[in-house]
Symmetry: C2
Subunit: 578 residues, 2 copies
């Protein structure tokens, strides 16, 4: 990982490839890399779909190594959804492969004059770019089949579906998993639209002939990895809960807590929750011959995912995540796992963020386009996006645009990005994260749910404003650092309560890179990432007034607790005081 691959898609004679050393970006990975490049090189007031925006794809500091869980990839740009900086994070195989090929980042720059579509192929011999108009408007599944036919099954793909080609703001970027299915997505913020604007349909990565990256101190690294694996294995969440039921184990938990946003954030408890819970889902998957425990990338030992099959045992989609089950489920009044799996499959195939789409369908239902609970209508609405009809384009641009176009007042977004599966009135810590995150409403940028509800890393009452700002601040800092390592964020459950596992992560970084970081240095990395992002957003016109939840969260009490969001504006403004 000692070079950056820059591809100018707008060069006169067609795409131009340049490999450079890391220079000032030396020592960065993942989100630290993408946010540094975007913050420094992208004009904050540029059009997100214009030639001045850049799409940065970066493996983490430990990606491509033998460290377990290190296969996450960061994709950054100026977001078409929020207008601010964006880092969207995905599992799958590309991160490990790119890292082994030595690339610390791919930067797509410029914009083709015409509408030619390109394929980028990367292997140990370098980069080949070819016209790929035959791939136009293919869904991610068909696309990957075609790539398998050309390049075999040992490559990995980073691709967009029709949504990205249409430059819709809810468009994701798909990464293939171990079975070479396009099921892992850098979902949020419309990164797929930016890839579409660059005219790139797919990046195919072949790491044949490459080896695991070698640590500076192999012995120390090996010892740290062992401690790391032990820590993850013994932790009840990463060692048991997540493997057994996946992220969807949360449906019953959050519903019980009264913070499960139901029917477009109009209630906090869904009567159909048990029908779509992780427990029900795992049982269904197993009984049908699917899989309830499965990893999204090689090197994953938590294996929170699974394989969802239909009643005849045919593959439908990967096990839908908790946030997807919620967004297409309870948020739309839908309690049908098969329908939710179909929606997940459609989203993955069109290349759409499942959180944004479910929230959008909820807003569309509130607008009267369909009845809450009507799964067939929800499927039809998502299919409109695939068809690219005017209605589909509205929906494919997300909840804020849909609310605007249909005149809906209750639109659960911050900075234009839809809220995930936790109502900020019932879990106030996550509300602080939604409001203040540099990313727009985003649970993964400071997952206060862990401490508010699961009592991991302490115990802060979810229904009181006290302590939430400090909690969210600390989590946002830690998350920005973890997102830079290539580590799956779920390792946080272990490192928050097990100091020895936390130390193992630092030890792995140090042994690998020959550094001598302390825990403080790790925190400083997180702070520097957030500072870069805040700086970009300020130059893009964001102010304290953008660090607010929509007004209805302060006005409409959420049943069953009948509580509004209680954290004061002045407190929100303290989150980044560090």
């Amino acid at each position: 990982m000692d070079k950056i691959l820059r591809i100018d898609m707008g060069a006169e004679g067609g795409p131009e490839v340049k490999e450079t050393s890391l220079g000032e970006y030396e020592g960065l990975g993942g989100r630290a890399m993408t946010s540094a490049i975007v913050s420094k090189e992208v004009p904050p007031l540029c059009h997100p779909l214009g030639e001045e925006n850049k799409l940065v794809i970066a493996p983490g500091l430990l990606s491509g190594t033998t460290a377990a869980m290190s296969g996450r990839i960061s994709i950054g740009c100026k977001s078409p959804l929020t207008g601010g900086i964006k880092e969207a994070n995905s599992g799958g195989q590309p991160s490990q492969m790119l890292a082994r090929l030595g690339y610390a980042a791919i930067v797509l720059e410029g914009k083709p004059k015409g509408d030619t579509l390109y394929k980028i192929f990367i292997d140990k011999d370098g980069v080949k770019i070819s016209e790929a108009n035959d791939l136009r408007m293919l869904g991610n599944y068909d696309l990957v089949e075609k790539i398998k036919g050309e390049h075999g099954e040992k490559v990995s793909c980073i691709s967009i579906g029709p949504a990205g080609e249409m430059k819709l703001s809810a468009a994701s970027i798909a990464c293939t998993d171990m079975e070479m299915r396009p099921t892992r997505h850098a979902g949020r913020g419309g990164v797929g639209a930016v890839m579409g604007s660059k005219g790139v349909k797919v990046i195919v990565i072949d790491d044949s002939g490459m080896k695991m990256r070698s640590p500076k101190d192999p012995e120390k690294f090996k010892a740290a990895v062992k401690e790391w694996v032990d820590g993850l294995t013994k932790n009840p969440t990463t060692g048991k809960g997540l493997p057994a039921y996946g992220t969807n184990v949360l449906t019953n938990v959050i519903n019980e807590a009264g913070a499960y946003p139901t029917r477009n954030f109009s209630a906090g408890r869904f009567e159909g929750a048990s029908d779509i819970s992780g427990e029900t889902q795992a049982e269904l998957e197993t009984s049908r011959g699917g899989m309830a425990t499965h990893g999204c990338h090689s090197g994953c030992i938590i294996k929170c995912s699974g394989i969802f099959v239909d009643k005849d045992g045919n593959y439908v989609t990967k096990q839908p995540e908790y946030e997807t089950v919620w967004s297409h489920g309870g948020n739309c009044g839908i309690n049908d796992l098969d329908a939710i799996a179909q929606l997940d499959r459609l989203d993955d195939d069109y290349g759409l963020d499942t959180i944004e789409m479910g929230a959008t369908i909820g807003v569309a239902m509130e607008a009267g386009l369909a009845q809450f609970g009507d799964a067939g209508a929800a499927i039809d609405l998502v299919k409109e996006v695939g068809k690219g009809t005017p209605l589909g384009r509205i929906l494919g641009n997300g909840a804020a645009v849909t609310g605007r176009v249909f005149g809906v007042e209750r639109v659960p977004v911050v900075k234009g990005q839809a809220m995930p599966a936790y109502d900020p009135r019932g879990i106030m810590g996550i509300g602080v994260t939604y409001a203040t995150s540099t990313m727009g409403a985003d649970h993964t940028s400071g997952y206060a749910v862990a401490t508010n509800i699961m009592k991991v890393g302490g115990d802060v009452d979810p229904l009181k404003p006290e302590g939430q700002v400090e909690l969210s601040r600390n989590l946002q800092i830690a998350t920005a650092a973890i997102d830079s390592t290539g580590m799956c964020l779920f390792v946080a459950f272990a490192i928050m309560d097990q100091p020895e596992t936390n130390q193992a992560l630092i030890d792995m970084i140090n042994a690998f890179h020959g550094w001598s970081w302390t825990g403080d240095d790790f925190g400083k990395l997180g702070m520097s990432v957030l500072k870069n992002e805040r700086d970009f957003n300020a130059r893009a016109g964001f102010t304290a007034e953008h660090d607010r939840l929509p007004a209805f969260f302060k006005k409409e009490p959420l049943p069953p607790h009948d509580i509004t969001f209680q954290v004061k504006d002045e407190e929100l403004d303290q989150v980044f005081n560090f």
Copy 2:
């Protein structure tokens, strides 16, 4: 004009009427009144369509008097289009009538729980509010016919069409003219959507039994009015140019200057300009038995409007304004006055801002929804808005939303509001106004075209950055003051070059109100209005970064001058240094 009428549309048992004294708003009129109330009473982060927004309707300081040109009305709120403060200004009869009935402002507050539609009737005996669901989705023309049947032809109407009921961000509020046609519109910023969100279809005003408002010093007032009328009559623009050809006299002038935005701001000169010029239009109107010179409200002596009839002599619409002829004409590559008149009629009937709609169709054409120059397709697109189809709702939400939904990069908006008929690269002074106005892109908030092109009030080279900031600053201050008097902005042509006419305006205000204002005091009024507006916008999250033109104006040179917008960001930030 000693009372404010407040109507709480959200009161438990149905709308509640309250009349109050002016209190802290004493001495304000028009835009000074609307912006003071909105800035003080509306939470800047509220949803524009929510119960916390207020719609404020205010005649000017001299409305309802014998002062010529004093019939403009200001309509203010938080804008659904820009998210900032809004004052949209209209001619027609309501201003004079409301003023004579003694109302300095009507404030619509709250929001009905259900979807009942209301009619508000105001006469000398007070206010009557009745359910009016029979008026649902009527176009403004049919609506006004119905009102005439109920209330006769001597009333005036402030109403919304289907666009306002659908809460579209390009929805206008129509005011009836002297012939009781709904042809004068508070067009910009989606004020019609806010009226729609309040459940008010129409406000019917009957000033029977009321007299002209009486001045404090009748003799002095009479003398000042005479000087005023003399000044307007002798001025070449207000006395000759505007009466003869209307605002559309500008088509040839701006086209000649190379600043006529053609085909969605891709060129500065339109080959079909002479086909749609004011000269051609006046000749066509006259030859068909229409009218080329006609006022929009009683008391108007400039009479810049007219009556556009079809080839059989049947009424189509009022004479389309320059900005309308441009937006639906050259901006879409259309050189057909009959088609443009039809589009103007449709806009007025559905209740849509003609500038926003033409700019939106231009963006839609750039997106490939229709060919530039295809008038039939343009008409069909506007009809989609009337039908409320998904496509129609996209378009009815304006150029920014349309650009977003269809992934278009060249979208000529500032703060979400579409640019009018002057390219900021060819007339840099108006570019400064577009960028910095509290209203979003708006020519009427500081009409630098007058000095850049017509050499009124001085001579500042339109193609150079020098002097534009000072010019725009002075014009924005003066305009905010004029917009508070109820005076038509066209009086500016006379007062900018004729000190005695400027003095006559001050004299009229002083004689009427018993004040002793100097020219400086008038300027201070303008500054205080702008300060209120800037303050609201800052609290709504607007920063210097929002006072910018879209990036393409700095990157794409405009033919024929092949010039980009040259005023620097740091200079733009000096506009409000006063």
